[in-house]
Every structure is written in structure tokens, then in C-alpha cells.
Symmetry: C2
Subunit: 721 residues, 2 copies
Amino acid sequence: MAVPIILIVALVAGIISIVMAMYFRYLVLKEDPGNERMQEVAGYIEEGAITYLKIQYKILGIFVAILAVAMLFLPTPFEDSDTYTRLFSDALNWEQMLAYIIGAVGSMFAGWLGMYVGVKANTRAAQGCTIGTKKGFDVAFFGGAVMGLAVVGVALIGVSTLYWIMPDPMIVLGFSFGASSVALFMKCGGGIFTKTADVGADLVGKAEYNLPEDDPRNPATIADNVGDNVGDIAGMGSDLFDSYVASIVAAMMLAAAFSITSTIYFPFGGIDLTAEGRAVLVVAPIVLCGVGLIASLIGIYLIKLKGSDEPGKALNTGTYLATLVYFGLSALFTFLLSIGLEAAEIGLLWRIWGTSAIGLIAGIILGFTSDYFTRDDKKPTRNIANAAKEGHAVVILSGFSYGLLSVVPPALGVILAMAVAFWLAGFFGVAMAAVGLLSIVGTIVSNDAYGPIVDNARAIAEQGDLGEDVIRTADRLDSAGNTAKAITKGFAIGAANLTVLALLFSFVEEARAKGATIDSINLLNVNVLIGAFVGVVIPALFSALLILAVQRNAAKMVDEIRRQFEENPKILSGEEPADFSKTIDIATKGSIRELILPSIISIIVPIAIGVLFGVAALGAFLGGAILSGFVFAVMMSNAGGAWDNAKKWIEDGNLGGKGTNVHKASITGDTVGDPFKDTAGPSINTLLVVMSLTASIFLGFLLLFNGGAGLLADLLTIVIP
Amino acid sequence: MAVPIILIVALVAGIISIVMAMYFRYLVLKEDPGNERMQEVAGYIEEGAITYLKIQYKILGIFVAILAVAMLFLPTPFEDSDTYTRLFSDALNWEQMLAYIIGAVGSMFAGWLGMYVGVKANTRAAQGCTIGTKKGFDVAFFGGAVMGLAVVGVALIGVSTLYWIMPDPMIVLGFSFGASSVALFMKCGGGIFTKTADVGADLVGKAEYNLPEDDPRNPATIADNVGDNVGDIAGMGSDLFDSYVASIVAAMMLAAAFSITSTIYFPFGGIDLTAEGRAVLVVAPIVLCGVGLIASLIGIYLIKLKGSDEPGKALNTGTYLATLVYFGLSALFTFLLSIGLEAAEIGLLWRIWGTSAIGLIAGIILGFTSDYFTRDDKKPTRNIANAAKEGHAVVILSGFSYGLLSVVPPALGVILAMAVAFWLAGFFGVAMAAVGLLSIVGTIVSNDAYGPIVDNARAIAEQGDLGEDVIRTADRLDSAGNTAKAITKGFAIGAANLTVLALLFSFVEEARAKGATIDSINLLNVNVLIGAFVGVVIPALFSALLILAVQRNAAKMVDEIRRQFEENPKILSGEEPADFSKTIDIATKGSIRELILPSIISIIVPIAIGVLFGVAALGAFLGGAILSGFVFAVMMSNAGGAWDNAKKWIEDGNLGGKGTNVHKASITGDTVGDPFKDTAGPSINTLLVVMSLTASIFLGFLLLFNGGAGLLADLLTIVIP
């Protein structure tokens, strides 16, 4: 089938997605926002979130502008006349830069829309809980779906339109880099913000003054709620936006490389591709993502139609439905894509369909693995809870160890998915597995954004004095949200991991196409080994910087909370409201100040490695960072999740329940886990994508140094005559 | 100079070393063992340590026997007639096996001797403190020197004699593997033992009953002291024994490979080697180690002559002296080795001398880096201590982050040392840097073993009622010991890292010599990438298993201590002694049970990777494990050390001092850090060496699977026609 026509699928799906997001937005906004006190609290949260976004976007604008200028003016060995195929040429700086800015603005828009509706949905969901579980769930789910649909809609419209106008994956790469730049800021900044508030609120409120969670007297409560929105809605949304687009780009770049070799190789042979076949392969990732979006839309719509009294089940049903619909629809579109192709190419397309299915299944399994390691009815979390009986130190040791252990199953899962995908369709197969994994990301982001909405709803119900029954209903919704979040995190880590592996391969193809000598990434070359070494260390450094940032900021928050309580005793007695704006201000400014250094590192270090040690070393750097980043991301996410749930399980009355020493020890675990699971762990995903894309974007510049071999090449290379 | 003659240097130095060890043993034993109560306590410690070693050696015997049989009977593609050069042949199974057993027995002997004297020295050092700092220091220093000298003496006598009789590095490889097998058991087992006792004693004694450290009423006190000996004396000794021999073997194997190519290549060219020149290169590592031992002996002897009132300064002086003497003496022996060689070869020898000097300097810098990150007068530890003001969770976050940060400087140090060494003399240069680093290991082990002796001496002084003044003197000695330990750990990690890198290179040379196709370790081959992925995950898995082991065992210890206090209240009132044998029994049995799984993993996983994914993937596996292992080892060692010293700093009266909430939070940090720094962190070094040697030893077996390409090679390899 003619390529431009089938590309319409993605564009149309994207537009439907945005329309549906707007419809859900309308559904949410028309709901009752609850009593005056609730609206007041929701108003504070909204104001805080919008303020944060404004400042964040301002700094982000500067960052994007600097990188845009760098993209435009950094010299490369290529000239305009080199735009022979447009593929992999580097002379389209201004077009790539434009795509970069569009990507950044698109990601910001999706983040803004999702968060705007999120902060409107929380109070309405709380009010919905006064009617019943179903109503509360509906409002929160619609609110979350706005984020999910906006993310995927904007991404698909951007990618398909850009490729339609300028059919060169390098342009889409610019778009992807824009999305990633935003994701880095949203994820790191949001992560620092949310945990600054959360840790600060817990340390003073719970530990020193025995205030319950979400107590309105605690000056950091609102900041904590704002943090849920900026960290968990906008942050996770931009993270998956970023992985989503990056996976498409990686696959497109690998497919574009076939226009140079004309042949695709995989372990059991090779297939010569026709021009038509090559064109189909390049758009296949976009098409399958469009199909995945339709599958997500159907899943979300069915949940809407049916409604549910069992929130956890409903969310999972949506995921399963989307998966099943994807399998069917993607088969149909594989058939459509194959019309007019040669027999061998048709076989190849079906293999590629297989890789995308494997990727999706792997993602779901990874999600449930991380669920296993963090569920309070499974052994790891139970053991961690029991370890709290021995005190603070033992609960930490236990959670840390189980976090490390939990790396093994998903590592084996990714390895298996990668191996099978490679066996089916070579490196392109691995990239398509990542695309398949991320195809239903609309559903995943929706489920994930549901979490902070109900978390906020619970807080608003508490502060709006809606009574125990309503709070219990909100708690049920919240608990489903936590499970959804655990699954999403496993999914997101798997997605990021497969995506960056695909980006590594596409980087190598790009380098080859641009004439760099990169036949191998050989660890026996000392410069390559050095690249790998630095790469393995980077996630550790990055995690350290982020956790220290949270710690520094939380200390300021603690001082501010103590100051308010001491200077105005009426806050504690509930006679006067706390000064929320001051705590929000601390979290906002601190998070933005602290994300500068990690952001710079993620851009500068890959470039420095490339300049000094060469392109192959940069490949090894990315490889090392991907593998060690996987270990750190999984460990921190799962340890944090397990500590959190162990604490909740104890708070449910187990092992003595609230107020005991066991409970206090479990709070220590939870507090350590907070920046693990919500700041450092998930930021690593984005770090990896940003570093991989940086390598691809600035590849031309790197070729100026010893032809891509790096300035120190001669010192570290043995040439055997 | 004729090779056999110069080899005598190493043999003679080894023998002098053993003689001096015996002399120091005599000096220690003739000292006054103190009052009856002290002798009683020392008796308990000695008995516990000996019991532990006996059981440990019994299980170790079984483990060694199984591996010996495997070495003898596992099939290889080679036959006896293939022993063309004896180099790299695999048909000398029984000789290699014999060397293996000798290495194991030698390491056990050195461990036994060092520990035997260590447990005698502690009470005598305590008694010495009644006379003065100098006397106490002397006894403890002599006691520690026995371990240092025994380790190096046995290693050098073993290596030089074996090579003299059977001049094949593969035989020495067997010896090295024997030493490593023992080190794995001693390090993991000792690490679990010591922290089971320490954590258990602290959790109940300090936290629940407010007993001071080393209180004789605490039933786990003696087990804790035994642990210092088995973990820190025998464990660290066998660890450095293992790195020491492994570094020699790696360099010898790389040198032996020149007999195949006849040429040594480095970045600025290549040199054709004469037969004489090749022979000199093979023995150069042994000779330089002999020289290093002499330098250590001189350093130790000068400290003995001079004595010191400033223990910390004396220990460092010993290190500096040994380093300086090494520079001079090694230059002399480089000159002697160069006699009769051709001009180009003489130049090469001087380059190699340079690499060994760079290695040694790097080791010392690494040691002081880890000292910086763990000293209580430097920023990291101060910040961690201050974080304790915010409670348990923040002190953990702070220590964990600084631990991660502390990875960066030593990583850069190792990278720089590797790069310069490679620039000077290629892969052989890197191996010789490791040899240089480890050359003065006699001094390093001596200083390190001094630590637990004075730690024990302090405990005995406390339990023997020697009074506050004597305890303060012992405290001063102890504090110097802690600094020495921090430096040693940084040194040991750097040594292990450079050594395993050298082992990786020598593994590749061996594989090439045996006909495996391993031109590169190319991360773009999926099987190689899978190998690297598994490698990066392994140190995380290993750490998790060891920390969980400590946690499980410590819980049993806690139960036992509580039981004793509850069943017999007279223990707490001091009227009746606690039942020490029961707690020692728990620590002993638990540690031995828990080390089985990690030990099996370290042997089985490399073999499995080789069988399934091939020799190149195994190389990548080792590379991944080396880099990620470095991150984990440094992070855990330094975080643990910093937490420990932050606690001590608070106990010195800062931030409110003992008994405050700040102090309690700092104890949590210390307790978390205990298994980090004394179990998991240092065990990773040994893990890496064992896995690397396993790869080399069982290489012949791996070649049976698809010629070393692995069973799954065809499924994962793209062959472009």
C-alpha cells in the first residue's frame, strides 16, 4: 500500500486522541468540584503546580535555546551539497533544529494539558467518592486519560507530520531530542520537587509533631500534593513521551540504513529489499504506534463505557484489552503494509510483527515483575516489613538487598526479548520490540496519571472534612493507583532499556553512514574500554547528585516547617492556615537549581567522550551506561516501592500498626525509598535516552576530531602492521 | 642476566619474609599476655577463631577437591601431544591441579598463621598499652606484620618455585586459582561472620539494653571480636594474597603470549623480542614482586627499629618508605634484568619499570581518596554526620549518595593509570601496573592486620578492667588502625580492579593462543552484549545475597542474645558470664551455610556464559562485572566507612554526643554500613578475581562448544556474506 496513505493512520489516530483528550477534559471539568474548603485546597495545588511549570518552562526555554543554537552552529565535516540522500546527512541543521523546538514545545504542551486537567480532576474525584467508588474512579480515570492521550496524540501527530513533510529520520531525531530535553527537566526537576516536599513534610510532620499524612496544618502538605502532580503526572508523562518517540526514531533510523545496504540481515540470512519495501520499513514504526494508539483508545473507551466498582481490576482490564486489540489490529495493518511487496519482504513484515508482539508481552511481564517485588502480599515486601521489627538499619538492609535482587528477573526478561527479537529480524527487530512495547503507552500513561489524581483526591477528602467513609473510598482508589504505578514503572524501565539499546544500534548505523570507522565496539580497545568504564559510572554519579539534591532541599523544607510552627503556634492548633506558598517556593526554586548540573552532565559527558576517545568509545559509553543504568533504575524503583508498601502494610494494623517502633522503622525505609523510587530511579531512564540522542545529534561534530576516532586515539591504539 | 639466577631474588625474599614473620611471632608471643581476665577473654577469642577456621577449612577442602576433580576430568579439545610449547596448552591438567591444591593450601597456611598470631597479639597489645602507646603499637604492629609477611612470603615462594620447576604460566594460574578459591571463602564467610556478630551485638546490646561497645555482658561481644580476626585479618589477607598472585599470573601470561607473536606492540610501535628478552619479560613480574617484598621488609624493619609514639604516622611512614625503596630497588633490578638484552628491549624494560611505578603511585592515591571520603574531618563524613540531625532516613540517603559520588575519583584514577600504562607498554603494561601496585602488599597487609588487633586490644582492655587511661591509649591505636583500614580498602579495590583488567586481557590472549575466535569483544554482537549485561548484573546479585545473609544471620543472633538475657537475668547484672560459645556457633554455621550459593555462582555463571554465548561473550561478561563491580565495591566500602566514622565523630561528643537522637541515627548508618563495607564491598574484589580465573582455567572446556563460539552462537550471529 502506498506509504503516505498508510501514514495517515498514525496522524488520524493522533488527532482522534487529542479530540478524545479534550472530551475527557470536558467530562472532568463539568463535575462538581466539591465544597469550598476542597476548592480552596485544590486551588492551592493548582496554583502551585502552574507556578512551578511556569518557572520550569522558562529555564527550559533557555536550555532549549542554547542547545538549538549549538545544533545550528556546531561545525561538522559535511556541507550542504552532501545532502545526497537526505538520510543521515548532517547538513540539514536548521530543519533538525526546527523539529527539535517543535518536539520540545509539543512535550511541554502535553505536559501542561495533562497536569492542568490533573489538578482539576483531583477535587472532583474526591467529590465523586461521596457518591461512590465508581463515580470517583471515573473522574480520576478520565483525568488521567487526558495525560495519556495528550502525550501519545502530540507525539504521533508530530512524528507523522514531520516525516510526511521532510521524509528523513534525522529530522524526527531532532523532534525526539526536543521531547527528551523536556523530559529530563520534568523528570529530574519534578522528582526533586515532589520528594523535597514529601520527605520534608514527613520528617517534621510525622516524626516530630505526630501529624497524620496530608494534615492541613502541615505547611508542606500542599507542596507534597503539587509534587505528586509535577513529579508523577507531568514527569512520568514526559518520560514515556520521550521513550515513545525515541523508540520510533531508533527503528526509523535503522530502517533508513537499509537504503544504503539494500539488504536486511538477521541470524538466519538476509533479504534484499525493494525500494517499496524499504519505504514500508521506515514508516512501519509510526504505523504500528498509530495502531497501538487506536488499541489504547478502544481500551480506554470500553472502560469508560463499562465503569467499574473495582478500580484495580478496571485498570488492568484496560491494559489487557489494549494488548489484545493491538495484536489483532497490528496484524491487520501488517497485512495492509505488505500489499504489493515481494514474498520475502512479506515474510519479513510478519517477523517484525512478531518482534513488536514480543516487546509488548515483555513489557507487561516486566510490569508484573516489579509488581511482585513491591506488593505487600508477596515475600519480598513482607520480609522487609518483618525486618522493621529489628529496627531502622535492618529494614534498610533488607529493602536494599531485595532491590538488588529484583534486578535479575527483568534483566533476564530484557535479554530474552532482545535475543528473540534479534533472532527474528536483527537489530531492526530489537528496535521494533521497543516500538511494540511502547505502542500501548497511551493506556499506560493514563493508568499512571490516575495514581497521583486519586492520591491528591484522598488528601483533599481529608482536608475537606468529607468523613471517614469517603476517605476509605478514596483509599481504595489510591491503592489501585499504587499498583498501577508499580506496573508502570517496571514497564517504563523495560521500555527505556530496549529503546536505548535500539538507539545505540541506530547510533552505530548513523556513524557508519557518516563514514566513521566503527566496525565494532571492541572492549579490547583501551579507548573503548575507557568509554565503557565512564558509562558504567555515570548512573551512579547521576543518582548521587539527585539524591543529594533532595536531601539538601528537604533540609531547607524542614527548617521552614519548623520555623512556621515555632513562630506561629496557631498553625499547629489549627486556628490559622500555614503559609503554603513559602514551602512551594522552596521546592520549586530548589528543584530547578539542582537539576542544572545533572542536565549539563547528560549533554557534556557524551560529547566529551566522543571528542577525546572517539565514536566507538562513545558507543561503549552508552552501552555501559545503559546496563549499569538498568541495574540502578530497577534497584531504586523496586526497593523504594517495597519500602513504601511495607510501611503501608504495617499502617494497616500489621506487626502492631501505627505508632509502634516497627512502624517508625518502616517510615525510615519509606523515606529512604522516596528519592530512590521517585527521583533518581526514574530519572535514569531519561538520562539514558538524552545521552543516546545527544550522541546521534552531535555525531557530525564528533567526526571533526580525528575523523571520529577521538583526539587521544593515537595514544591509545595499537596498530599492528 | 640469566633468568633462573634472578628468579632467586624472589625466592630468597620469600624465605626471608617467612623467617621474619616467625621472628615477629616470637617477639609477640614473648610479651606479657596481661591479667587473668584478659587471658580468659583472649582465650575465648582464640578458641572461637580456631573453631571457625577448622570448620571453614573442612568445607573449603570439599570445595577445592570438587574443583580439582573438575580441572582434571573436564574434557578439552586438546590432547597430550598438543603440549607443543607447554605455554597455554591445556593438557597439563594434573600439573595445574597440583598447583591449584598447593595454592589453596598455601593460602590457608598463611591465613592460619596470621590469625594465630593476631589472636595472640591482641591481649599482649592491650597489656602493652599499660606501659605506653609505643609498646602497645609495637606489639600490634608486629602481630599484623606476621600476616603481611606470611601472605607475601608464601605467595612468592609458591610462584617462583612452581615456575622454576615447571616454566609455564598456566601452572602458576592453577596456583592463583587455588589462592582465589580460599580467598572467596575467607572473604565471604569471614565477612558474613564478622557482621552477623557485630550487627547482632549492636542491635540488641546498644539499641535495646544500652550496653556500651565491647561490654562483656553482651553474649555476642566475643563473637564480634572473633569476627574482627576472621573477617579483617584472615579475610583481607587472603583477598590481597589472591590479587597479588593473580596480578603476577596475568602479567606472566601476557608475556608468555609474546613467544607466539615474538613482538610486543604498544601505541607507538612494536619491538621484536629475542628469546632472552621474552624470558626476561615472563619472570619480570615475579622479580619486581620480590623487589617489592624486600622494600616492604625494609620499611617494616625501619618502623620496628625506630618505634613510634604516633601510630598513624608510623603506619604511613612505612608505606612511603616501602614505596621509595621500591622505586630505587626496582630500578636496580630493571638494570640487572636488562643485562645482555638488545637496546630496544632495554628501552622496553624501562618503560615497564615506569608502568609498575605508575601502578604503585595510583594505588597510594586511591588509598588516600578513600581516606578522604571516610575521614571525620572532611566534608563527606561531616555532612553525613550532620544529616543524622534529620533522622535515620536522611543519614542513610546522605551516606549512600556520598558512597556513589566517591566512585568517580578512583574510577578516573584507574582509567588514568590504565591509559598511561597502556601507552607505555600495551596490555602488558597494564598488567605490570597491577603488579607494581601490589608489589608492596606486604606493607599494606601488615598495616591492615594491625587494625583488628588493636580493635580487639581495646575490647580486651575494656573487659580486663585496665582503666580509662589504658582504654584511651588503645583508642588512639584503634583510630590509627581505622585510617589504615580505609587506605587499605581503597588500595585493595584499585589493585583488584587493575588485576582483573589484566586478567581479562590475559584471558583473551590465552583464548587466541588456544585457537578461539576472539579478535574482539564487540558489544555489537548480541551474544557479547548479553554477556556484558549479565556481567553488569552479577555484582548486584552477589551483594544482595551477602547482605541478606548477614541480615538473616544477625536476626538469629539477636534472638539468641535476647534469649540469654531473658532466661538468665544474672548475665545482665554481671553476676554470671554470658554463653559465648552459642553466639560463636551461630555466626560460624550461618556464615558457612550462606557462602555456598555465592561461591557456586562465581564458578557456574562464567562457565554457563561461555558454554551458551561463547568465549567473546565471556570476555564481555568479565568486563561488565569488572566495571559494575568496581562501582559497587567502592560505593559500599566508602559509604560504610563514612557512616562508621560519622558515628564515631558524634560519639566523640559532637552534635550532642552519645545517647542523643542524632547518635541513634548515626548508629543506624553504621549498622547499614557494616555489611556494606565489611561483607559485600570487599567480597566483590574476590568475586571478580575468581570469575576471571575460572574463565581462564576452564577455557579448554568451553572450546568444546561450537569451537568456543557458544551453543547459541548461530541463533545470535549475523553472517554477512
